[in-house]
Symmetry: C2
């Protein structure tokens, strides 16, 4: 079975030494007044979360994959052995309330803490982690857009974990393109609506964890305009809620089937049939897309976390295997008493391990930075700081989602490769990480959609304003380390690449003004380029702290030296991908402008 | 369900127009005398093979994945529904004998034809294709190294497909490192040996297709030296064979279990227990490693074909989906009568499709070129041509294995991505291609081992002699197209990259003389670089033919224009990976030379 040790040391390093989270959080009365900005408390909470992930969730991970969820003919879903009980413990220990508002029963901890807990839960059991994860999205949307009555009825029960939530967007013919959904809402004339239609791919859409499930559903109110401008957001409880808070009759929403998938088998991916289900409007009529984005932005960072968490555990297991697997004789011998040496003796094996490590550690830095920025955006008393944080979050959320899930999948694949043939066998658990990691690149908006969001909406439509803010942050760091001779090579590489982002943005932007296809053609490579600049920035930032610690003689356990060595690996072996990306972005969209007839699909095209 | 249309048109183009296979084969009496060099015949055979793959094998592909193989307590294995019957038809139609020597009942067709048939079988059903595939390896080893008696007893039955063969190398503690295997052979003193030990990961190691299975087994004869120099190759039949050719008693080899794997579920991956099994020596004592390599080189090209075949079918299905899936509105609209446009309208979707196409078409060109080179190596009357072909095969076999399987896996992943969420659902079949393609990167020597074989054995230990031959072939083509203005950009890129291979080889070679770890550190990136130079060479070669056809007004159906457009895509979007690889290779192994303590494994390391 796979093992897992939560990276608490690295989290502490990032929060306290790199991000100065304690000082930043202390500036926000919301946290300072709740006593939740205290770094000792945060450390305690994370240690407790680590225990839960390692001891309660990890042992269920392979079981969940093997058993999957089972649906009976009535539409009830049974989750894998142990899942329900683990959720009960999780809920009773207060984890579902962790970063929720005390006004609704939450503990008021920072997003920063929640994102770290999320990483650990994902590493230990991603399929299980999605049940509370989806609830969290529903919580955010209700807090932001729900009426007082809806909030009072539903939020305390979602925060306590007594009920869970879902996001119901996709339909069989409409995934990326929510403007063409067919699910209808009719006004009942009594303040409620009747929803009818079919939603698919609803994660945690049906289960046996809780007595009730709160679906947030996109639908078109009768008479609303076509397209995204006619979509509203509704709340549909599985069971109606009586005035006294007790559960009433079953609502008209039934799980029609659950999907057989490549992975995340422990999470029920439901097809939900809504048949005149009683529903309540969330936010204004026809503002459903905007309101749903409140959930989706959080969900996108959460999906990025799946790449981080799965990459981390896959990496950890590859390290163990590489230490214990003896094959061939390295010169000089590293285990001379044996007939072969541990495969970690070979540079190519370390290349695979360091790839996992360098991407995971930078990904963690990005995640915590964004989470702290979310805290700042929501709670900082200084409006300028709120705006700067909001811009950063808006710019880097698609990067976090796509870059982290792409890297996470690749780490899972490379870590599996370290195992040789054993990596392909189910019992080792490595192939599950690959299968589980694959979905992160697809859902919550495919990584292509993230790239279009970044290049189109966040950069070009923004006139490069947010991008310039990131460039300023980067250049400030480059200036800061100008006296550190040891960091100059990396700082130069970072500075040049950051400048190159500006150039590439201009090149693509000018072409795209003539032909929007040029932005579409460049977007995926562009996002990866920005991802590398972001990670290079974070590596210089981490290396600066590490170098100072080493110079000050504080590196007792080699932690800081390891950071510097990993930074070096990143700049030597991973960052050069920017050379390729720069070339492919500059090459533009001409080579993609091919005759569609070449695909041998004339007849199919003609019939469309 | 996935669909598949065999790429017969592309095969014909490559064989006749690009490789001039008919002329080359006609120079070899072995084929000319057997009338198997005839291109009309070859075309007929391929069309028949296409029908078998499309109609008989493809419908069993998802079934095989879903049902897997089942082992009973006695060690008998039942293959998935339909597999056995399909094999019976395949065998009776003579396909197992296709490129076997007529002396043993074979049809004497060129390797060239067999490799094309192999591609189609893999595309349609890779798990099934491995049963005859492994037999073919056993056939090659017996032809090259078996005694006359062994040949007479076993070859006709293997060629006819009445019996199948296996390769038994791996043991629980010994995969890459066959020098430490523990399986023992004792001399029975009657010309036979007694084999005892456990072999794992034996593909097609037990099944219900045939009455007998012929295992080729690596074992150490008692008294032989340690390491690879003490290993011999033995033949172990599942059932003994009587003097009259009838089957005798059950031999002491039993399937102890079959693996639960990520994919290729339709193929039984067996653990075989040998308990004093009666065995016969194949070739000389202690020459087992060399003899096994006869099988392994063929198996490595065959494994590369898995990357090609799976990439091709994944690509084909992604194209269909991209044509039929309507999402969002492209400007200008491509399906104005619909509420959305087919996603193939978007450049980023075409980028994913063209990646599959460009790698698949170049991979097919490489495979057919190598297969024709194998024919030349084995059968050409001119010794110089045989040697040149042998050098090319030796140099490019590890490239074909690793580059084609890496690309094939990536194509499967990108093609799955085109499907969005539907790609993650089992019923569409795309996720099976990803799972099935993953093993090709691992078995028959991991792709890291292939890279070490290329850089270490085939280039550095060879003093660059074989590499120079490839460079000469490349430069000859560059000169040939010097007058084609349209090809100059690509020819220049190819020429520069080929020169860069020389530079990189010198850089790595000089470092490696000081420290062998430097070769290990560079190998994987080096192989990918050589792969790109090879594909760039093939793309210029294909483009030259295509351009001439277009200029001559022969491009009735747009086939040749599509070649030129795909070539352009390759050079614009895929070939720039060489820029990254050049940088990572030059960066050397320093950043991999890290403190192993950083992996937190001191205790584990100390106990090794």
């Amino acid at each position: 079975m796979a093992h897992y040790k939560a990276p608490l040391r690295d989290m502490k390093f990032l929060m306290t030494e790199v991000l100065g989270a304690g000082e930043t959080l202390a500036q926000m009365p919301y946290y300072a007044d709740n006593d939740t900005a205290d770094t000792d408390l945060i450390e305690q909470v994370l240690a407790e979360a680590a225990r839960f992930a390692e001891n309660e969730l990890l042992p269920l991970n392979a079981v969940g994959d093997h058993e999957g969820c089972v649906r009976d003919e009535a539409g009830n879903v049974t989750t894998p052995t142990g899942f329900k009980e683990a959720y009960r413990k999780y809920r009773l220990a207060g984890w579902t309330a962790l970063d929720a508002d005390p006004a609704w029963g939450g503990q008021g901890m920072p997003h920063l803490v929640n994102i770290a807990v999320t990483e650990m839960n994902i590493s230990a059991n991603v399929a299980w982690s999605m049940y509370p994860g989806l609830s969290h999205g529903a919580y955010s949307a209700l807090v932001a857009h729900g009426s007082d009555e809806l909030k009072a009825t539903y939020l305390p029960r979602i925060v306590s974990g007594e009920w869970t939530g879902t996001m119901c967007l996709t339909e069989p013919h409409a995934g990326t393109d929510l403007g063409i959904i067919r699910t209808k809402a009719a006004d009942n004339g009594d303040g409620s609506y009747a929803i009818s239609g079919t939603k698919i791919f609803i994660s945690a859409g049906e289960h046996d964890f809780t007595d009730n499930i709160v679906h947030l559903v996109l639908a078109r109110l009768e008479g609303s305009p076509e397209g995204t401008k006619g979509i509203s957001l509704f709340l549909v409880p599985k069971f109606m809620v009586n005035a006294d808070g007790s559960l009433g009759q079953r609502n008209g929403v039934v799980c029609g089937s659950i999907e057989h998938k490549m992975g995340i088998n422990g999470n029920a991916t439901a097809l939900l049939n809504f048949d005149g289900a009683r529903a309540y409007l969330v936010g204004e009529i026809n503002k459903g897309m905007n309101n749903m984005f409140t959930m989706m932005n959080a969900a996108r960072l959460g999906t990025g976390m799946q790449g981080l968490g799965l990459g981390e555990i896959a990496y950890q297991n590859a390290v163990s295997y590489a230490v214990n697997r003896l094959q061939m004789r390295h010169e000089p011998r590293t285990a001379p008493a044996q007939n072969a040496d541990p495969i970690i003796s070979y540079p190519d094996v370390r290349r695979m391990l360091l790839t996992g490590r360098a991407y995971s550690e930078a990904g963690r830095a990005l995640a915590l930075w964004l989470a702290l920025s979310l805290d700042t955006e929501h709670h900082h008393p200084d409006a300028a700081k709120r705006e700067e944080a909001a811009d950063l979050v808006a710019l880097l959320t698609p990067v976090a989602k796509a870059f982290m899930t792409d890297n996470g999948f690749n780490i899972a694949v490379q870590s599996q490769q370290v195992f040789g043939g054993h990596g392909y066998i189910r019992e080792w658990g490595m192939e599950q990480f690959v299968r589980d990691a694959r979905i992160g690149q697809i859902y919550e908006g495919t990584n292509s959609i993230q790239a279009l969001d970044l290049l189109g909406r966040k950069v070009l439509m923004d006139g490069g304003r947010k991008l310039q803010k990131l460039a300023n942050i980067v250049e400030a760091l480059v200036s800061e380390v100008a006296d550190d001779e040891e960091l100059q090579g990396w700082a130069d590489a970072l500075s040049k690449a950051a400048a190159q982002v500006g150039t590439l943005t201009m090149v693509v932007g000018q072409k795209a003004m003539q032909n929007p296809d040029e932005a579409n053609a460049a977007a995926v490579d562009y996002l990866r380029y920005v991802g590398h600049v972001t990670y290079a920035f974070l590596w210089v930032k981490m290396a600066k702290v590490a170098l100072n610690a080493v110079k000050a003689g504080k590196d007792k356990d080699g932690f800081y030296k390891a950071k510097l060595q990993t930074a070096r690996f990143y700049f030597d072996k991973l960052f050069p991908e920017t050379k390729m990306l720069s070339a492919t972005i500059k090459a533009g969209g001409d080579s993609l402008d091919v005759d569609l007839g070449m695909f041998g699909v004339e007849r199919a095209l003609a019939s469309v």
